[in-house]
Subunit: 131 residues, 2 copies
DNA sequence: ATATAATACTACCTTTTTGGTAGGAATTGC
DNA sequence: GCAATTCCTACCAAAAAGGTAGTATTATAT
């Protein structure tokens, strides 16, 4: 029930890209944020794969956003980096009361709330406070 | 960002206690729910330690609630079993921007929402659907 | 052209958390 | 005293989290 650093680092990366108008290298982000570049690299790969950022290879390459900051929801960034935000599935084969289980219903409702919250917040909301 | 089975099993235990008017043994709960008794034992220990349930030792012993089902919030049950529901702390010593970090602020807001949601739901809300 | 600086890919690794299991000691009703 | 229960301690395996290392590939500046 805890957000891992992976999702948080993904947000930090996105904030860095949003604040820069130019292409930014991972090296710069890692340096600015004092975060391990090799780990950021793995997280960035997830963001690229989900088409949240565009990569430019070769010398003077780096990454840029593909949309305006207010067109990114925090939700899509977290889902790209952490995977679906939902309750751990229970072993449905083993459980005959899948459909009526009150705990499953409860968690479905909770995660609906969470996803709504993170989808309504935009990347631009986060950078307002930084500027 | 996923609720583990520990919290879910804790809820299941509490639902079982709420539906029974008598003392219930762990063996019965494990049997009814097809869950491993030894694992439930560990979860139950957390619930007892947090004073959410009362244990009766010896033959014909078991567990009972200490309050009415509508006096238990789901939040207190989940916190007893899973620990505090909050974002993983970042290494504050290492980070000089602790106070202004927009990601921390964001997650604080998210977890405030989550805790509000789980505190407003009561154990009695879950058993309504079962009865 | 070529050195350089960047991303992309693959593989590994350590620590923590999760989800258990095993065995026995202590307690209590009958 | 026996049986049925909780309590306690220790252990364990699998998965996830949080990295690290090395190399291949690409593209640009010069």
């Amino acid at each position: 029930m805890k957000i891992s650093t992976r999702g948080r680092y993904a947000l930090i990366i996105m904030i860095n890209l949003a604040l820069a108008n130019t292409t930014v290298s991972l090296k710069d982000i890692a340096y600015n944020e004092h975060l391990p570049i090799k780990y950021l690299e793995k997280i960035m790969a997830l963001l690229v794969k989900s088409n949240l950022v565009k990569s430019i290879r070769g010398k003077d390459g780096g990454y840029t956003l593909v949309k305006f900051p207010n067109d990114y929801s925090i939700g899509e960034i977290l889902r790209a980096s952490e995977g679906e935000i939902k309750s751990r599935a229970c072993d449905t084969d083993n459980c005959e009361k899948q459909d009526t289980c009150p705990t499953i219903k409860f968690f479905d409702g909770l995660y609906r709330e969470i996803n709504e919250y993170i989808d309504n917040k935009k990347l631009s909301d986060l950078i307002k406070e930084v500027k």
